[in-house]
């Protein structure tokens, strides 16, 4: 069921699929142009796989959302009337926006340092950024719980330093969710931003300073505008991923803060209201597609995801 909600937490599958679709699009177009059926045969297995395991279930979700419990748009009407679903959407958007903002800020600083480092240092930095991606999201969420809980390392440390008297509420609330999600999203923010920063000629910064600009002016007038496409791309990527988070909010939110994915799971598995669950899932998918459509008009998608300039 989970795959119906676009969630990055299923592991690397989502990201690879994303890339595959990006790179498959131009080559299939080329095949059509040349009218060569052989090329079609080559991508046929991938096409069938995508249709069978990805597109068909999504269409099914769409179908259930307008047929259960009765045929019609009743489920979608609840978007306007049901306080529970509205709260889940608002919470999801709020956490998504906060996470995106923080992840972009941290990711930008990190990318900036990496982009200007020596090639050798760059490799180590990149390794440091990518290693968290290989660790299970479950492990990471529980690691944050042990760090942030009342008797956790952070609270105990602050108390032994005399900085606080009573433990801070760092987990099982929105704060904990945001910490976990930012931690997850920073690498996804770094990669597109780093890609666009690497295209910036470092001599431009030297030129700006040689022409009389301070370090800060050189950054704000030259580097920042030139890295803006990467910043926008990272923002869209992180925001879309944030909408579908499931495991991190479930563990670090302690069941008190409901985001869209968990709300859907409750509808389907606990209350068994398939119609409502699939309705919100469809809304999420549509929201993501609309965001991407708007975004693709602003920035070249293929370049953002690194599929050859």
């Amino acid at each position: 069921m989970r795959e119906r909600v676009r969630s990055p937490e299923g592991g690397g599958g989502e990201a690879t699929e994303h890339r595959r679709r990006e790179s498959a699009a131009p080559s299939s177009k080329a095949a059509r142009a040349s009218g060569n059926a052989g090329w079609w045969m080559l991508i046929l297995p991938a096409f069938l796989l995508m249709t069978g395991f990805y597109i068909a279930p999504i269409l099914q979700v769409l179908a259930i959302s307008v047929t259960e419990p009765t045929v019609g748009l009743d489920n979608y009407e609840r978007l306007l009337t049901n306080a529970g679903v509205q709260r889940a959407i608002v919470t999801t958007l709020r956490i998504g926006i906060i996470t995106t903002a923080i992840a972009l800020f941290l990711g930008y600083a990190l990318s900036y340092v990496i982009a200007l480092a020596s090639p050798r240092a760059q490799r180590w930095w990149l390794l440091g950024v990518l290693v968290p991606l290989w660790i299970s999201v479950l492990v990471r969420a529980f690691a944050w719980v042990t760090l942030l809980r009342r008797q956790g390392l952070v609270n105990e440390g602050l108390r032994s330093l005399g900085a606080i008297d009573a433990p801070l509420e760092l987990v099982w609330n929105e704060f904990g969710i945001v910490v976990g999600m930012v931690h997850y999203m920073v690498p996804y923010a770094v990669l597109p931003m780093l890609a666009s920063m690497r295209e910036i000629d470092p001599r431009l910064l030297a030129a700006a300073r040689g022409l009389g600009a301070s370090r800060f002016t050189a950054f704000s007038r030259i580097f920042l505008p030139l890295s803006t496409p990467g910043l926008i791309a990272a923002g869209v990527l992180v925001f879309i991923f944030s909408l579908g988070f499931y495991i991190t909010p479930a563990i670090l939110g302690g069941g008190k803060t409901l985001m869209a994915a968990e709300w859907i799971k409750i509808q389907i598995l606990d209350i068994v209201r398939w119609g409502m669950g699939t309705m919100l899932a469809t809304v999420l998918v549509v929201a993501i597609l609309v965001t991407l459509a708007i975004f693709s008009r602003v920035v070249n998608l293929k370049r953002v995801f690194g599929a050859g300039a």
């Binding site: 040689g210 301070s214 007038r221």
Partner: protein
């Protein structure tokens, strides 16, 4: 923009730059006078760009000082030096139009808009780019980009203009054209220019003074003619144009000259301080050698046979095999060659006592 602001003098004192165990520049000292056009010339890895980057303030010297009109600027950050710089590849800001690029130095100096616009227009005029003001750098040709880079470096009346291989990205014909423009511009604005290049023709045609660098050392500095005619070392002779190297020994020292022997051939050479028995290396330019016709003579005469010949339009480049001096390269102006030189033809070559220059043998590569 009219010479009201005089050029400034720049002095480098024992400038050294080390990167870990590698020494990029050793003990470079030189002075560029007000309004002069100095070129740092050398092969890649000779340290010329490092010196320019130290002058610009992007690289901190390990030792030594940099003085502008006698004021120590060694530790000043680049943005405080007020030097204009044309970067290799121009480093134009791709997200700005030509006018915005040129306005950038004025903008960061907080100039009022009206003042800024007026200066940008004047500078666009100076480099003849007025109609391209609203274009992006990527929409311009290489030569136009180079002029934008120049305009951007000059618009704020810099104390010094630094040029890092400003013409290397252009094709040969355009390069010659822009060399001319750059020279005219230098004369017109009277500013001090410091240029870096590995192209000896460019260095000679543009500069008042050329500093030749090799392996981080300043080998020789002087006017183009002086460097070409009187190279002090084998490296300079080889690097500036073509040169025949003749190894000889002093047979007899005379007043202001010497009689040399190379194998069985006796040569007379104008030189100071020759001592009998000493080894001497001579640099002889191919165009200083003449082909002697029957009955003609010269202070130095050598017989040989043409080993190979190539026609270059303005002249023939001929390699002559001689018994004692090895292969000599000779340039014969086309108008002087009665018949086209061919392989195997015997020739008598001659040159005067002051045609060659004794050089120190510093060839280590």
């Amino acid at each position: 923009m009219n010479g009201a602001v005089p050029g400034h003098a720049l002095t480098l004192e024992r400038l050294t730059k080390r990167y870990g165990g590698f020494t990029a520049v050793v003990d470079a000292s030189l002075t560029v006078e007000q309004g002069q056009f100095l070129t740092l010339l050398g092969p890649s890895g000779s340290g010329k760009t490092t010196i320019l980057m130290m002058i610009a303030g992007f690289v901190a010297p390990s030792e030594g000082r940099i003085l502008l009109d006698g004021r120590d600027i060694t530790v000043l950050p680049p943005e405080k030096r007020e030097f204009g710089m044309v970067f290799q590849g121009y480093a134009l800001f791709p997200h700005m139009t030509v006018a915005e690029n040129i306005a950038f130095p004025l903008r960061v100096r907080g100039l009022a808009r009206a003042d800024r616009d007026a200066r940008v227009r004047a500078t666009l005029d100076l480099v003849q780019l007025t109609q391209f003001a609203e274009r992006r750098p990527t929409q311009l040709s290489g030569g136009q980009q180079q002029r934008v880079a120049l305009a951007r470096a000059l618009v704020f009346d810099p104390a010094l203009l630094l040029l890092d291989e400003p013409l290397s990205a252009l094709d040969k014909k355009l390069r010659a054209e822009l060399q001319e423009e750059l020279k005219t511009l230098h004369r017109r604005i009277g500013r001090t220019f410091v240029n870096v290049t590995h192209d000896q023709e460019e260095a000679m045609s543009l500069s008042d003074r050329v500093a030749i660098l090799n392996h981080g050392k300043l080998v020789q500095m002087g006017g183009p003619v002086e460097l070409y005619e009187r190279p002090r070392t084998r490296f300079v002779a080889d690097f500036l144009g073509k040169s025949n190297m003749i190894s000889a020994r002093v047979a007899e020292a005379r007043q202001g000259g010497a009689v040399l022997t190379a194998g069985g051939t006796r040569l007379v050479q104008a030189m100071d301080g020759a001592r009998a028995g000493e080894a001497v290396l001579l640099s002889l330019r191919p165009e200083r050698i003449t082909v002697l016709t029957a009955g003609e003579t010269a202070e130095n005469v050598v017989d040989g046979r043409i080993a190979s010949a190539a026609f270059l339009g303005a002249g023939h480049s001929v390699t002559v095999e001689t018994a004692d001096l090895g292969r000599l390269r000779v340039t014969i102006p086309t108008w002087q060659a009665s018949v086209a030189p061919e392989e195997g033809v015997p020739l008598r070559l001659g040159w005067s006592a002051d045609a060659a220059a004794p050089v120190a043998d510093d060839e280590d590569a």
